[in-house]
Amino acid sequence: MLALDVHPQSFGFVVFEGPNQILDWGVRSFRTGVNAVKIPAATRFLALLDEFRPSAVVIGERLARKTAKQAKMLATIRRQARYRGIPVRCISRGDVNRAFVGFESNKYEVASALAQQFPDLAVRLPPRRKCWQSEDYRMGIFDAAALGVAYFVRREKRLPTTSVEDSARAQ
């Protein structure tokens, strides 16, 4: 299963093999400007799909604050996943909080819990940010991992997950 956390200029990803094992993780940037990344985001996403052939793609449900770039990226994800017959599932922030009871006060708490659950991710855990700092790009990995864990928790409890089409209709 491939979990993605899509941002306007990058996406974090974690590839799961079952709920307790991760195969790959990282952040892929598609920023523009002076240090523009030449490889398009779609190519980077396709490389992940082709390399791991996931059984599902899990993305976050962002009903508000969706930028044009995010929308374009989500449309690419939906199109390419459908072309390969891979279901795309949406996980809400509430689902993530319910999967991390006791750690849901902020994203850093969730990331710390994930670093304990998956020691491979511990070295990528950024320091707790100060209120004047912007978010570390590595948080994308932990946000994606949180989505993945929440997806498995819902699946374990046999709760239905929202398909990306339902999520788009809700918007």
């Binding site: 093999e17 195969l23 993780w25 059984s55 491979d120």
Partner: protein
């Protein structure tokens, strides 16, 4: 049913180690990490010496590093084993070869079980 696994887990174990492709390339005796990238993306199959080197570097058996490939080889062998056994059973051995034929059939029957380790691991 055997759960399909990735052809290789080289990237996973490299990332767990924290090493870069260039560093693994150096350990493999290469100038760059280009070949490591090709192995990880399954564009090239490493030769036996490199596969053994990977086993040494990560401390993981080859069968686990190349789990998908191992599964595929296991399936092919299993098919041929069944065919060979059927062929031996169909053939009437000479009086001098009866014991050897019986031994072969017993040996093949003993091994007619899945050989792949960790085959029950879930898929990506």
């Amino acid at each position: 049913m055997v759960t399909p696994r990735l052809e290789n887990y080289l990237r996973t174990y490299r990332k767990r180690s924290g090493l870069t492709q260039q560093e693994v390339g150096y350990l493999l005796g290469r100038e760059t990490g280009a070949l490591v990238s090709r192995y990880e993306k399954r564009r090239r199959l490493p030769p036996l010496e490199t596969a053994l080197a990977y086993e040494e570097i990560f401390g993981v058996p080859i069968g686990e590093l190349f789990a998908g490939r191992r599964q595929a080889v296991g399936r092919d062998i299993q098919k041929r084993r069944v065919a060979l056994r059927a062929g031996l059973q169909a053939k009437t051995p000479k009086a001098t070869d009866v014991r050897m034929a019986a031994h072969k059939l017993r040996w093949l029957a003993d091994r007619e079980r899945p050989l792949v380790a960790n085959q029950n691991a879930p898929t990506a």
